[in-house]
Symmetry: C2
Subunit: 217 residues, 2 copies
């Protein structure tokens, strides 16, 4: 059984669950190892206040079987960071699967990886994919060749179970789903913009605009 090297990019302003959902699933693949990597190793602050520890500098990681690019508001400052973009391209050349969660797909876009591919991202950012020459698809995750992009935050869990099937088999994917008791039962039916009222969507957009303005100040 081939070993699987899983590389998850961390950066300040990351959404923790974007990284930890895939981590919890993929780290359970037998004979796999997860590498958390960032521009410089050390503490990485997440949206909301948590710190995750990055063990490796991007200079130390030159290949991956599965590359995971999470999202979060910190992604914006990476979109023109050549060192990161070149690193992503180089790793992508070595992967079996290059993947993203939430707005992580925008970074794949900036690295030129989703040009002419079908891709997805967080519902509230999906139009931005066109800027990178990708065809936006509203779906929990989208597989186009070896590039797998997923929708917002929690969608990384669904995508990762599929990845387990792709790199191993369906039985293992199901065993891991059972281990994390992933039998979701949200108490509300409000997980996508199509499922909520127009009023709720307006409150969401208004709150987001205010947040975005206060971040700019």
């Amino acid at each position: 059984m081939d070993s699987i090297k899983i590389v998850i990019l961390l950066f300040n302003g990351i959404t923790a669950l974007d990284a930890i959902g895939p981590y919890e699933v993929l780290s359970k693949i037998p004979n796999s190892k997860v590498y958390f990597v960032s521009k410089e190793p050390g503490n990485i602050y997440c949206m909301g206040g948590l710190n995750l520890v990055s063990q490796y500098s991007i200079k130390e990681i030159t290949e991956a079987d599965i590359l995971v690019i999470p999202g979060g508001s910190g992604i914006d400052s990476l979109l023109d960071n050549n060192e990161i973009l070149i690193w992503i391209k180089n790793i992508h050349n070595t992967t079996k699967y290059t993947t993203s969660v939430c707005t992580g797909s925008l970074l794949l876009g900036a690295a030129g990886i989703i040009t002419n591919l079908k891709a997805t991202t967080h519902w509230n950012h999906i139009d931005k994919l066109k800027k990178y020459g990708a065809e936006p698809i509203k779906s929990r995750y989208v597989i186009d060749g070896k590039v797998v992009t997923s929708a917002g935050v929690s969608a990384g869990i669904d995508m990762s179970l599929k990845l387990v099937e792709l790199v191993r088999n369906e039985t293992l994917a199901k065993l891991i789903q059972l281990a994390i008791e992933y039998d979701p039962s949200p108490p509300f039916n409000a997980g996508s913009p199509e499922k909520v009222s127009k009023e709720l969507l307006e409150i969401f957009q208004k709150a987001n605009a205010q947040k975005s303005n206060s971040e700019k100040k």
Copy 2:
């Protein structure tokens, strides 16, 4: 609007998603703050290799509005740790809600908090609740008075959305669900023991027994 103090216990051998699922939901409550706390502050290693940073010692945290006790194999060594058990009891006396994810409920049990209450935990550990005088309930989460316990790992997300409704309101809970695009669509239907084949369940139990044996060695 009252501020909400959310306290999440960390310990070596924690399941990262048990803590990060609730964190991602609860940290989005306006005017709230999340405190990650452990016996000693510093790096906490999770099952699978990740390190999370604990900012506070249990000595520094004396109250909480919401206490979250995650699970993981590291819970076993805490079940007879008097310092932790007394701390949990003291915090519980100050909370609006005392909660657990996965095998975190066993620690609530050891602290005497679920005696005579309905409670739940990871499906593979649910019989252990009886040892603590609790009535085991197979459910995504169980609310009994101010004690809220949830099923395995990913169930902490469902529970936390319900907690948002309880401490604030349904509109906010839905806004947060929308923000994390929690519209789950697992690629397989294998999230609970009732949903998988007898053969798959046997493979799971056999792998678990082997792992448990190798940990004892």
